[in-house]
């Protein structure tokens, strides 16, 4: 630790005039003299002197030109999905993003605003959240949706905790066909709350009177469409809640979880106009039935009127939340992912009634075309015979990881190796972003790899 430098004016700390900090040395001196002091260090006198002004081992400042070059160098070492055919999904999906989304979400009025605590100064954000809640309800066939959670995994974990609050039970059953990452996150969230986590086979889920919920994914992690109707009914027979994590893209086509009576529906909003971005930021979707509204986590925007009778929006039912209820809140969540709730709202509106259906159908037909082509290759087969949406598992003639290494040499990003679950299984994802040429190139490459 270097010695402290008492009585050193800030200008002599090796004054660095950053383009992000307007105050000049003269202005600093003016403010210091208003305070009757002559150096900045005096303002930090409450910090014990032996710990004050430690050595800070950080690199020197860079100009914007230099930072562009450094970040450009780093970015060039990453393979972007658009640089060649890509068939990786498994919870993060490569979909078309209309250009109006980036243009609108990077408007300073949206991106540099805070959480809308001052409603009169935040009507834009609050109305967007209300629109988001409306469209998510319609997408999932549910009665009420919140302003969003961190991501799909945490949304689902919070849904499991909420099911325990609603049922006053302390065991959650997870279908073994949900994402392994989701299982891990639910375990982390449950570990400290004495909630037991058990993994069940969705073809025959053993639920008991202590089970708070059955947690399903729709389509499941491997892309297949679970028999939601039967599973939701079986869950309700035990007095438990049906919790369903649902891919929003599939909702352009498939029957909704709400239709089957699901109690809590969550999802990752990433497919709705949000870049894959190495795993985040995304937005967690969270919807439920009206009767459970007071057990919901996270913010809600409600429509009301101002004192002149004009329509406006406010954050509401805040007595559920941490800043009012503190240790008795429904969740600790505060900052969520509002900017990406905005992105997904614009996406759902831009796609609209027709576009959402069209995207879902493009994904469906292209993935089924790809599956049929691959299944016709010697050594390759489809080990799961169930309806699927845009992802499916292929059984490969050798290790999927080895096959992927050869594919990437051809600039094709293959699917995820799921051989721990399905022998020599590769989980492939085909979306509207994959042209017939991409798919044919993958099939041609696989036919050479045995």
């Amino acid at each position: 630790m270097t010695a402290t430098r008492p009585n050193t004016p800030i200008a002599n700390e090796g004054h660095f005039q950053s383009h992000y900090i307007p105050s000049t040395v003269d202005e600093q001196s003016e403010m210091l003299s208003a305070l009757g002091i002559d150096n900045i260090d005096q303002l930090f006198a409450d910090i014990p002197v032996e710990f004050r002004n430690p050595h800070l081992d950080l690199p020197a400042p860079l100009s914007e030109l230099e930072i562009q070059q450094e970040l450009g160098r780093m970015a060039s070492k990453n393979r972007a999905m658009g640089s060649g055919p890509s068939f990786l999904g498994a919870g993060s999906y490569n979909h078309f993003i209309p250009s109006i989304i980036k243009s609108l979400i990077t408007r300073g009025e949206f991106i540099t605003a805070y959480t809308p605590y001052q409603a009169e100064a935040s009507q834009g954000t609050l109305q967007v959240i209300y629109e988001f809640q409306t469209l998510i309800c319609n997408l999932y066939g549910m009665e009420v949706a919140n302003a969003g959670m961190y991501d799909g995994a945490t949304s689902l974990a919070e849904a499991a905790l909420m099911a325990c609050r609603v049922t006053k039970r302390e065991k959650v059953a997870l279908a073994d066909s949900i994402s392994p990452a989701y299982i891990d996150v639910i375990r982390t969230y449950c570990q400290s709350q004495d909630i037991a986590v058990e993994i069940v086979d969705p073809s025959n889920p053993a639920l008991g009177e202590e089970t708070a919920c059955l947690v399903l994914q729709y389509p499941n992690y491997f892309g297949y469409i679970e028999d939601l109707e039967a599973l939701v009914d079986a869950t309700h027979v035990q007095g438990a809640l049906a919790v369903v994590s649902c891919d929003p893209t599939a909702m352009g086509m498939l029957q909704t979880p709400g239709h089957y009576g699901a109690d809590i529906v969550t999802g990752d909003g990433q497919p709705l106009g949000i870049p894959v971005s190495y795993g985040g930021p995304y937005v967690g979707l969270f919807a439920t039935k009206q009767e459970y509204i007071r057990q919901m986590p996270s913010r809600l925007s409600g429509r009301t009127i101002d004192k002149n009778g004009k329509t406006g929006y406010v954050l509401t039912l805040q007595t559920r939340e941490q800043h009012i209820r503190r240790e008795r809140a429904t969740s600790n969540i505060c900052t969520n992912e509002a900017l990406y709730a905005l992105a997904s709202t614009i996406y759902m509106a831009a796609m609209g009634k027709q576009g959402m259906k069209q995207v879902a159908e493009l994904c469906y037909h292209k993935s089924h075309y790809a599956a049929a082509q691959i299944a016709s290759l010697p050594g390759y087969s489809l080990p799961i015979d169930k309806p699927f949406f845009q992802e499916f598992v292929v059984q490969c003639p050798s290790s999927p990881t080895d096959i992927n290494k050869k594919l990437i040499d051809l600039n094709i990003l293959g699917g995820l190796d799921v051989s721990e679950k399905i022998p020599d299984g590769m989980l492939l994802c085909v979306t509207e972003m994959n042209s017939k040429d991409d798919i044919d190139a993958l099939v041609a490459a696989l036919s050479e790899l045995k």
Partner: protein, 488 residues
């Protein structure tokens, strides 16, 4: 500003919807159509809007104009560190080499991303003096949950099963007790003393074999550096507990002191406050967790390790597990990295110096006009009370709303809870002296208005898109989504 015709924003999208309009044109199907699944699996209708692209751009632009934001207004919201958000950070985060990489793609094809994460771990460890870092937590409260689960795991690993209590000052942000409760602890509230520091006698009284730890915000939410902080850490450590640091207010401390040197064991940072990543109207944030080497084995997975010339994800030996779907809010982490590299060692220290100078300059100018319940040198923010104005008939809320008419966002109101009529003001280092002087003058003028024309203040705001809203109605009759039957 008034907009006419379809650029008005009052009607919601489903009310504006016109059958047949489209917002996007997609390519035709280029493969043979495949057999569809059983019809019972397919939905009939999807109630989404039908609007063209120009209408969408006009609607959302119109909505944006109803917001206050840093780019359009001074936004001195205490505890939120509403500093300038550099545009280069957004540009880099949205570039294809970062925004279009898949979280599960092989490490050898993500080396640039992994290198950035590894270096950011190092920077944050150096700044906090807590060298082990996980970037996987997605917001401040999420980091708190991670940190408190680590404290729990540490005690359990030592066979220490009786440590069920966590002590939290009465000035703390609500997420602290909520996070401690989610991590399975019982919360004990700690009183503050008359200087705004933790009351050491109250702390000693709870420091026993059942104390798992304390959660301390430094500087506190009163904007004050706790002069007893080293003793606080010692008392807790002697009782066998650990000290958690809420880094929400790190903007005051950058380069001035390291939490690890003071005795903190684990802390989170709010990259969307201290490190300038945009708040986005309420997220995305990022809440990395930094800890001592002793607690490093418990960090949330994954962390990034360096192996020779290459980088890879790894899971700490006794990790509390995963707390998010992938590896953290990468786009936010890219922005924070860019910010720290741009400012560098000299710039990082310049942030805290200028932020604290501005806050003290403002506090000094308003002393006597507004009540200062803790009249000490402040850190990055000053907490006033509107008690003087309340005596003349205007509350803190009314003063805050009146500020909107002057073109300034309101301060944080009624927090911390221990200050009556609290107004918590944080100017940040990125505001000019001219802006701060204008804001000071506005608060002086409003104080005069309270005397001269109380109704003007108490009915504010007068210039915003809506006047004061009926929150009671919103809570009593929740209207949380648009439905066709509710339209008429």
């Amino acid at each position: 500003m008034q907009q006419g015709g379809n650029r008005q924003t009052e009607k919601l999208m489903l009310e504006r919807s016109v059958p047949g309009r489209v917002g996007v044109v997609l390519p035709d199907l280029d493969v043979p159509a495949q057999p569809l699944p059983d019809n019972a699996l397919l939905r009939d209708d999807l109630a989404l809007p039908e609007l063209s692209e120009p209408e969408l751009v006009q609607y959302f632009t119109g909505l944006s104009l109803k917001n206050f934001s840093i780019d359009t207004h001074f936004y001195p919201l205490g505890s939120c560190t509403m500093k300038y958000n550099p545009k280069i950070n957004d540009e880099v985060a949205f570039s294809p080499g970062f925004a279009s990489i898949h979280p599960m793609q092989p490490a050898e094809h993500s080396q640039g991303a992994l290198e950035l994460l590894h270096k950011l771990q190092g920077f944050l460890g150096e700044i906090t003096g807590l060298p082990a870092v996980s970037l996987a937590t997605l917001a401040g409260a999420h980091g708190e949950l991670g940190g408190m689960l680590m404290i729990r795991a540490h005690h359990l690993a030592n066979g220490d099963t009786t440590r069920t209590k966590v002590a939290i000052p009465d000035s703390a942000h609500g997420t602290n007790p909520a996070s401690a409760a989610m991590a399975g602890f019982d919360v004990v509230e700690l009183a503050s003393d008359e200087q705004g520091n933790v009351d050491l006698n109250a702390l000693r009284a709870v420091s026993g074999p059942d104390l798992a730890g304390v959660m301390i915000t430094l500087p506190s939410t009163l904007g004050l550096f706790d002069t007893h902080i080293v003793e606080v850490c010692n008392i807790v450590h002697e009782a066998g507990g650990l000290v958690y640091g809420d880094g929400a207010n790190m903007n005051a401390l950058l380069g001035r002191v390291k939490l690890g040197d003071l005795g903190f064991d684990v802390a989170h940072l709010n990259l969307h406050k201290t490190f300038s990543t945009p708040h986005g109207g309420g997220g995305p944030g990022a809440g990395p967790v930094c800890c001592t080497n002793q607690l490093a084995p418990y960090l949330a997975a994954p962390i990034v390790s360096q192996n020779g010339d290459s980088y890879e994800f790894s899971t700490p030996a006794k990790s509390i597990g995963k707390l998010s779907g992938f590896h953290g809010n990468f786009g936010v982490l890219v922005r924070a990295y860019t910010y720290i590299r741009t400012l560098g060692d000299a710039g990082i220290k310049s942030i805290s110096g200028n932020a604290v100078l501005s806050a003290n300059y403002m506090m000094n100018a308003l002393r006597g006009v507004y009540h200062l319940p803790f009249d000490r040198t402040c850190m990055h923010e000053a907490v006033f009370s509107a008690d003087f104005q309340k005596e003349r008939g205007s509350s803190g809320l009314e003063i805050a709303k009146r500020l909107l008419d002057y073109g300034f966002h309101a301060p944080t109101m009624y927090f911390p809870l221990i200050v009556h009529e609290a107004l918590m003001i944080e100017p940040t280092e990125s505001e000019t002296k001219e802006t701060i002087d204008a804001f000071i003058q506005a608060l002086i003028d409003i104080d005069q208005e309270v005397t001269d024309d109380k109704d003007l203040v108490n009915n504010a705001p007068h210039t915003t898109p809506v006047a004061r809203l009926d929150e009671a109605k919103a809570a009593r009759q929740p209207d949380l989504r648009w439905q066709p039957e509710a339209a008429d």
